[in-house]
Assembly symmetry: D3
Homo-oligomer: 118 residues x 6
């Protein structure tokens, strides 16, 4: 089960490195903004990660959901907080969010398993 | 080919069970509503399943499409009715629906194959 | 209240005429397909209009919703059938569909009012 | 300027009352869930309203944005917190969110104006 | 007819100024990127504006469509080029794009009228 | 790596043939339009393919992205032109486009590898 996390991160890192090694300034700046936007400000990092998670979930982007699940996990978000966030996503975004909810749940289990068994 | 159906349903059932075993009331109620909304009312079940199918197709949710294809199949919808439904989805939702149309067609073939060879 | 319907149809017709008077073949053919797709086939016209309605509602296109409400009304769809269709749209598409549901409800009232008082 | 808020709420209330006076159970339950989902749980109400706001913003639903802006305002969210929430929405959802950001900003100003001058 | 353009630009400018006068860095940088991304590079400005137009049209953002119509007009794009661009948008994005096509056509007429009669 | 291209095209061709062998006129005409819309007109083929690419990217349709990447490649589009197109897609469509950008980049590499090593 931990492999799902490692594979996801390895592919993500490999392709990001390639994309950023090109000289496209717009893409580079968007990647840079993506890092800055979730830093602590008037809202704390955990809240921002949950905001990123709900946005990713209603827009039904599995990779984005996984990314924010992992960062939320590292920020100490509880399973209950994550599920409440995803419940709002499912209500606002409708039942088409449910397949993504299933995969999100599986990924969260992998994060917990990985953390306990490392 | 039948494996596609079994794998889809097995994963769906396994994750739904896990999600529902948690105590998130909002998610539980949405799942419950999802069952009730397609019951016979002023519109019959087959028509409702085709409504669910076209909604899933224009929103490009493969898992939702598969689910409604299977229930429409069980309700006796013909291939021609399903294709007319999907043709409206492709017209309203545009050519970005076509990749989902390909996978829907393949899943319908699996449903027919499974039915004939069981 | 009936003015909402007349204004909607007048603007729609005026702009469609202008667009079709141009020589863009792709657009002309899409407009032509849009007429043909809802003709009676393996599914009857009313069912197809409800399919068009649910697709329009989950994609949150007010003008498309109005168009299909009017054609469904002319095909004899009842308020209960239309509301069941829209309830599936709201479940599948989520609470973001609700503002469109409000405007759809108002337009349906205008259609009924217009029909009774003409 | 305060009129924008009153008009929005009056239309919203009038149409909700009409919709709920019908006997469509699915819609009634979705409206009911919409109230319950934002109640205090593992996450507090203000955080949930910001989650609803970011979901509404990336899905580009002006009425939903206004609704959550007003509830967030009542929960004591600061302008800075709301802007950070909307900045994440604009980053995740892209520049197509910007026209909604402009209208959100205007509505927030109306909320502040209304609060100061009542 | 020219008023449509002036009103659109005046509101856009007024709200952008307010938003940018706040100190939200993420939003400021996104606005800044939005200016830079359409500058001449490996692709010329007119092509980039048509890319922005087709993206705005399939995502059904009227204000974004208007903005790119005006910049494309200033870059010397012909009505035929714009209509071909919008025909691809309508094909890829489906018939739900048509209401936006009507409003785009009307705005383009206003741009031409404004240019001829200034 | 070249296998990704061959597998994609083989599945696409196989399912398209099946779908078109049915007698659904609406779907047949949409497929036909999809071929005609990208032919040379007031805009050249390469520009139209880039328009198709940006539309596919903001709508986050991986298969559509791959299709237009391959046709753009055959039309002589450079990697820089494709990346500028995708940078506009990422800006307009937001960071949820990034996972599709990663897969697009990988597919483009496969196209270049395939071309060099055939």
């Amino acid at each position: 089960m931990p492999n799902q996390i490692e594979e996801f991160n390895a592919y993500r890192q490999k392709m990001n490195d390639k994309i950023l090694s090109d000289d496209n300034k717009v893409i580079k700046r968007i990647f840079n903004l993506d890092t800055n936007a979730y830093k602590s400000g008037h809202l704390d990092v955990k809240t921002k990660e949950l905001l990123g998670l709900v946005a990713s979930a209603v827009l039904r982007c599995d990779d984005c959901i996984k990314y924010h699940l992992e960062t939320a996990f590292k920020q100490g978000a509880s399973k209950e907080e994550v599920m409440e966030t995803l419940s709002i996503a499912t209500l606002v975004g409708g039942t088409i969010v449910i397949p993504h909810l299933r995969r999100a749940y599986e990924f969260w289990e992998a994060l917990e398993y990985n953390h306990t068994n490392r």
